[in-house]
Symmetry: C7
Subunit: 94 residues, 7 copies
Amino acid sequence: MKIRPLGDRVVIKKIEAEETTKSGIVLPGSAKEKPQEAEIVAVGPGGVIDGKEIKMEVKVGDRVLFSKYAGNEVKIDGVEYTILRQDDILAIIE
Amino acid sequence: MKIRPLGDRVVIKKIEAEETTKSGIVLPGSAKEKPQEAEIVAVGPGGVIDGKEIKMEVKVGDRVLFSKYAGNEVKIDGVEYTILRQDDILAIIE
Amino acid sequence: MKIRPLGDRVVIKKIEAEETTKSGIVLPGSAKEKPQEAEIVAVGPGGVIDGKEIKMEVKVGDRVLFSKYAGNEVKIDGVEYTILRQDDILAIIE
Amino acid sequence: MKIRPLGDRVVIKKIEAEETTKSGIVLPGSAKEKPQEAEIVAVGPGGVIDGKEIKMEVKVGDRVLFSKYAGNEVKIDGVEYTILRQDDILAIIE
Amino acid sequence: MKIRPLGDRVVIKKIEAEETTKSGIVLPGSAKEKPQEAEIVAVGPGGVIDGKEIKMEVKVGDRVLFSKYAGNEVKIDGVEYTILRQDDILAIIE
Amino acid sequence: MKIRPLGDRVVIKKIEAEETTKSGIVLPGSAKEKPQEAEIVAVGPGGVIDGKEIKMEVKVGDRVLFSKYAGNEVKIDGVEYTILRQDDILAIIE
Amino acid sequence: MKIRPLGDRVVIKKIEAEETTKSGIVLPGSAKEKPQEAEIVAVGPGGVIDGKEIKMEVKVGDRVLFSKYAGNEVKIDGVEYTILRQDDILAIIE
C-alpha cells in the first residue's frame, strides 16, 4: 500500500528518541512545545494551496524536526505515520 | 437519488476499520486525531471558492484518508455518507 | 409578500424528515452535525460579496442539503423559512 | 436632527411584531437567531470599506429583515434606531 | 499641547448625555451596545493602513456617534479624550 | 549598547506620570485601557511587513501615546524600554 | 549535526541572564512578557512564506531580543536551541 499526500502535505515517520522525563511540574519559563525528529516518507505536489503558491522544500529521506502536536497520525500496514502540512516542518537536520 | 456536492466539496463513504480501542486514558504525547479511510463517491466542480481558484485533485473511486471530525454526515437511501471540503482530505491511498 | 435575499444569500424551506432519535449519549466518533434537506425558494443576485466574486450555483426549486445550524429562521405569512449564505448549502439532491 | 451613516452602514427603524414567546426551554434543533423586520431610514455612501468595494443595495424606505443582535442601537429625538452594516441585512421584503 | 493621531485614528471628545438608567436586569432582546455622541477634535492623515487605502471621511468639528467601548481614553491638560479608528465611528449627526 | 528594532517595530521609553488611582471598583462604562506617554528612542526600517508596505511615521524623539499593554518590555543597561509595533502608537503629542 | 531551518525560521541559542525574580504577585500594570536575549545560529532562506515575500533581516552571529514564549525548543548534541519565525525577533542588539 502506498500513501500519496494532497497539496502541501507530507507523510513522516517519527524517529523515537529516549525521553528523559523530568518531574511533572511545569514551569512557566519552559512551557514550550518540544519538536520531534522524523524522516520524510512522502511529499505532496505543492501548488496553489488556499490561494497561495506553495513550493515543496523537503524531499523523501530528509530528516526533519516537526512540531510534536501537529498533523494527523495514521497507521498503514501496521506502521505509524504522521500526515502534516510542510509548514509544520521546522527544520531539516543534516 | 443522486447527490451533487457544491464547490470544493466531496462526498465520501467511510470504510469501516477494526478499532482496537485501548484504555480510556489520553496521554498528551498521543492526543492526535486519527484520520479515517473512505472512498470518494462524488466530487464538486471546484472553481473559485471564497475568492480562490480550487482545482479538484481527487476523483470518484479514490480511496482516501480524511480528518475524522471534518464534514457533515448525511444518510441517503439508508446509506451514510460524509460531505466535506477537499482540503479535509489528507492523502490518497494507492 | 415576497422575500428577496441580498448578495449570496438564499431562502430555503425545510423538508421535514422522520427523526429516529437514538439515546441521548453522544459518542466522540459520531459527534458530527447532521445536514438537513430543504427546497430553495429564493436566490440572491450574488456578485461581489466581501470583495470576492460569488456566482450563484443553486436555483429556485433545487432540493438541497444544508448545514442544520446555519442561517436565520424567519416566518413569513405563517410559513417558516431559513435565510443562509450559498456557502452553507452542502449539495444538491437530484 | 439628521443622522448620516458612514461607509457601508445603514440606519434602520424596527417594525415591532407581536411576539408569541414559548416556554423558556431552548431546543438544540431550533437554537437559531430569529431575524427582525425594519425599515431603512438612512444609507451610507458605500465605497471602499476595509479595502473592498461595497455597493449599497438597499435604499431608504426598503422593508428589510435583519439579524436581531447585529448593530448598535441609538435614540435620536426620542426614537430608537439601529445602525448596522449592510451585510447584516438578510433580505428585502416586497 | 496638541495631539496628532496616527493613520486612520481620530481623537474625539464625548458629549455627556443624561443617562436614564433602567433596572439592572439585562434582557437578551436588548443586549446591544449603545453608541455615544462625541465631537471630533483631531483626525489622522489616513493613507495605507494595514495594506488598505483608508480615506478619512470625518473632519474636525463633526458631531458623531461612536461605539461606546471602542478606542483608548486619554487625558490631556485635564480634559478626557478618546482615540479610536475611523471605522469605530458609526455615523455623523447633522 | 544599542538596540535596533526589526521591521515596523519601535523602541520607546515610558514617561512616568503621576497616577491618581481611584478605588478598585471597575465600572463597565469606563472599562477602557488608558494609553501611556512615551518617547521614541529607536525606529525600525519599516518596509514590507507581513506582505504589506509599512511606512514609518514616527521618528526618534517623538513624544507619543501608546496602548499600555502593547509590546514587550526590555531592560538595557539598567533602563526599561518597550518594543512595540508602530500600529500600537496611537498619536504623537506636539 | 547541522540544523537548517525552513522558510522564515531561524535557530537561536539563548544567552542566560541573571534573573532577579521578585515576589510572585503579578500586578496588572506590568503584566507584560519580558523578551530574552539570544544569538542567531542558523537562518532560513526566506522567500514566499504563506503567500508573502519574506526577506531575512537577521544573520548568523546577530545578538537579538526575542519574545520569550515564541518558538519551539530543541536539543541538538546536548545543546538547547529555539526555532522561531523571524517575526518573533524583536530587535538586534549592537
